[in-house]
């Protein structure tokens, strides 16, 4: 009967998706293309690398949020699913930043 309960949940999820309008997906697609065009434009501006990197990463995070929220349907999931998955991911990725001070240290030492 476990399969039966899974099939019932699948049917309910499919039923929910039938009521989703496709119009927001076209808006999201258009927004993603516009954000990409802005990134390319910035690439041709002679900007200071740190400033450019900050702007590009902000744009990438906005694009990622749109893809996860709308295309991956996270917006329509229950709160428990949203917060557990996204918080654990952000925490793990943030932990990797521990290596960056070392990269800056090497640069300031002038080691090639």
């Amino acid at each position: 009967m476990e399969d039966a309960s899974q099939l019932a949940i699948e049917a309910r999820v499919a039923e929910e998706q039938r009521h989703h309008s496709v119009t927001p997906f076209f808006w999201v697609w258009g927004t993603l293309l516009v954000l990409t065009a802005i990134e390319v434009y910035l690439g041709y501006q002679n900007m200071e690398p740190k400033r450019m990197l900050s702007i590009l990463m902000c744009l990438s995070i906005v694009k990622a949020a749109l893809i996860i929220g709308y295309f991956m349907h996270m917006k329509y999931e229950v709160s428990r699913m949203k917060y557990l998955t996204m918080c654990s991911l952000v925490f793990c990725l943030a932990m990797m930043m521990v290596f960056f001070p070392d990269a800056f240290r090497i640069l300031s030492l002038g080691v090639k």
């Binding site: 399969d3 099939l7 690398p49 990438s60 996860i68 999931e77 428990r80 699913m81 070392d102």
Partner: protein, 265 residues
């Protein structure tokens, strides 16, 4: 099968799902979370090199940026067609589902071809890994011959990161092909392997990478032989999650690797 004796209120009889959705989807999310850490580590390694090496190369001319922008547009469009396929599948519209899945695969193939072209160009200009076979008659004064020697981290992180992503896109196309065409896709996959293997020169890394398609064809044959099934709306949605993830990762690779290494002339 379980479908035959499915009472209408079965989901209410049993304890509700912890995450409010079915297990396959939760399983795919867990896989994607772990895979995002793999890409996270590769992106951090690239960024570490970018920060710590003062003479980091900027090899991408406007031709490369235009190429990468078209690749990005292909992936974004493929995500739109994928979401339309999921929607059509939920509505039970089989014909639209097939058309949208094939459109998604076409965009994915377009991305791989353009990326392959970009790699081939960079390799012909001298950017290479030590494991790549030697290119015959390559000029010593090629544009990136020095880069591979003075900053070997660039080639290592560039090929590692984009190669891993290209592998994911290739496997994504195979995954969608199996969902869309089932057993009919297997001979197509074998044909693609033969074409990719025979049409690429022996010194190209793609000559060897083509065997990924052979392995994929064998694994897919085994899966469909052991567990033949008709893929339903839930399977399409789960495949869609994987595909959108591949798109999502590129949204970080594109600015970090290409835009940040643009050569302004």
């Amino acid at each position: 099968m379980a479908e035959a004796a499915l009472p209408s209120n079965v989901a209410e009889i049993y304890e509700p799902s912890l995450f409010g959705t079915y297990s396959k989807k939760v399983g795919m999310w867990l896989f994607l979370l772990s895979d995002s850490l793999t890409f996270g580590a590769l992106l951090y390694a690239y960024s570490y090199g970018r920060i710590s090496i003062s003479n980091w190369p900027t090899p991408f001319h406007s031709g490369s940026i235009v190429n990468a922008t078209i690749m990005t547009a292909f992936l974004l469009t493929s995500s739109l067609t994928m979401v339309m396929a999921v929607n059509a599948s939920a509505r039970g519209n089989e014909k639209s589902r097939l058309i949208y899945l094939l459109a998604t695969m076409a965009c994915g193939v377009g991305f791989i071809v353009l990326h392959g072209k970009e790699w081939s160009h960079l390799i012909s200009e001298g950017l290479r890994l030590p494991i790549f076979p030697a290119v015959p008659h390559q000029e010593v004064a090629s544009e990136f011959a020095d880069v591979s020697k003075t900053v070997p981290q660039f080639a290592a992180t560039f090929f590692g990161l984009t190669g891993m992503h290209m592998l994911h896109v290739t496997l994504g196309v195979v995954y969608l092909g199996v969902i869309a065409l089932r057993r009919k896709f297997i001979p197509i996959l074998f044909a693609c392997w033969l074409v990719a293997w025979l049409a690429t020169p022996s010194y190209s890394p793609f000559h060897y990478a083509a065997h990924v398609l052979l392995i994929a064809a064998l694994v897919c044959s085994l899966i469909m032989w052991l567990k033949p099934k008709i893929y339903d709306a839930a399977d399409v949605e789960v495949a869609g999650l994987y595909w959108h993830f591949v798109d999502l990762v590129w949204m970080f690779i594109f600015p970090l690797v290409y835009i940040m290494s643009t050569k302004i002339v």
